[in-house]
Amino acid sequence: MRNTTEDIEIQLLLEALYQRYHYDFRHYARASIKRRLKQALMQMEFRSFSALQDGLLHDPTLLPRLLDYLTIQVSEMFRDPFYYRAIREKVVPHLKTYPSLKVWIAGCSGGEELYSFVILFREEGIENRTLFYATDINPEALKTASAGIYALDRIKSFTVNHQKSGGKSSLSDYYTANYGRAVFDESLRNRVVFSDHSLVTDAVFGEMQFVSCRNVLIYFDRSFQDRAVGLFRDTLPRKGFLGLGSKESLRFSTHAGDFGEFVPEEKIYQRREA
């Protein structure tokens, strides 16, 4: 392992970000963070990570810009359509036995995953008994998610994915096209609570029947992964569901024993007996 000056600067920058603003990226997978920070450095026109650290400590207005580089994920609606198909065919029949439901989209980023869930739940007739919690650490991402506006040129792939997921309606029923943008219907947010929440520093906030957290854990190191999965364990009742990204697994987690595989090929787990 080579510890270059740049690596030391990155470590110090992340420490400054944590101590000054309580955003903890110290245990994120470092290779990705380094790439993202290099992009930030270039775009924000600082000559070194030390200079960026100096700026950040003294000028809070730099924080949102840096957070965008560190956290923003561009996803797709119904990304990995077979994940949603598995929810539709295998999880929804169980969810239908509950009189009321809570679903947590952890790390919702720009909202693509959230709207996929709301549309799927509406199609399956369980939206009106469900409360959706959409959380992210980045306030700007939450704004994007709650606006529900996406570039029109992204809609084609969203539509294809939606159909592959077993969609029972047309995606165009849920948005209006307007000046190159697709504006998703306000009614989709009737049962959504948006909230600022960190999987690494905040606690659980209630009992959920389904937690979907996709392509978030891959950015954490083992210690952060364990903390996040611990939160999911604590928030899920017996038989509650956890959905992860297609290349994420609980195999290496210290909490693996608390979950059983429900749809292994789609990384859907179910909470075992507490």
């Binding site: 392992m1 080579r2 290779a31 380094k34 790439r35 891959i218 297609s246 994420e248 290496f252």
Partner: protein, 194 residues
């Protein structure tokens, strides 16, 4: 100055990748003493068929890379479809769903730049056939970290754009025919065993 021993190999390929890798990977023995990390551009929505394809052809162990797994010698790790493959400082793998680079996810640059950070002079980076410019920045990073930069001779490559771009970005890279790359990689194993 003597070069340190190579401790890892990173390979990037795009159009024509299957034929090119079919020339190289079957030459590597079961007990090959190095890990081999491979990024091939594959469409995002297709199940990655490269792993079973090469498992059938090769002696060396072929796997799809998994997040957080340790990088071991004698294993070829393919990047999964629709995820970037990166190397962490503790020589484990991390996957990322960051935006595609040069329209590609997985991206050769992501692999090469992170592997160069970790292995420095002990990395061999190889750019094979391909029709875009991914890997040019990555190979430069490999070379600048003191590693060995190798490019398939564009004249003989199925698609010359990618090796050409890599050579333009990093002219100090060595050029070899596909056959020579295959025997060079196989030879690296023998030298270390002896």
């Amino acid at each position: 100055m003597t070069k340190p021993l190579i401790e890892a190999i990173a390979i990037g390929a795009s159009a024509g990748a299957v034929q090119a890798l079919s020339r190289i990977l079957p030459e590597l023995p079961t007990d090959y003493p190095l890990p081999v990390l491979v990024v091939v551009h594959v469409p995002p929505d297709r199940t990655n068929m490269l792993v079973p394809l090469f498992q059938a052809k090769c002696q060396i162990s072929i796997r799809e890379a998994e997040d957080k797994e340790p990088i071991l010698p004698g294993v070829v790790y393919f990047a999964p479809s629709d995820y970037h493959l990166l190397v962490e400082a503790d020589r484990t793998i991390s996957l990322s769903a960051d935006a595609p680079a040069m329209y590609s996810r997985p991206s050769i640059d992501f692999l090469f730049e992170s592997a160069a950070d970790t292995y420095g002079p002990a990395l061999l980076g190889v750019i094979l056939t391909g029709a875009n410019e991914d890997g040019a920045a990555g190979l430069t990073a490999v070379g600048e970290a003191g590693g060995l930069a190798l490019v398939e001779d564009p004249a003989g490559a199925y698609a010359s754009a990618m090796p050409t771009a890599a050579l333009e970005a990093y002219p100090m890279a060595k050029t070899m025919s596909l056959d020579n790359i295959a025997s060079y990689l196989a030879g690296l194993g023998k030298m270390r065993v002896a």
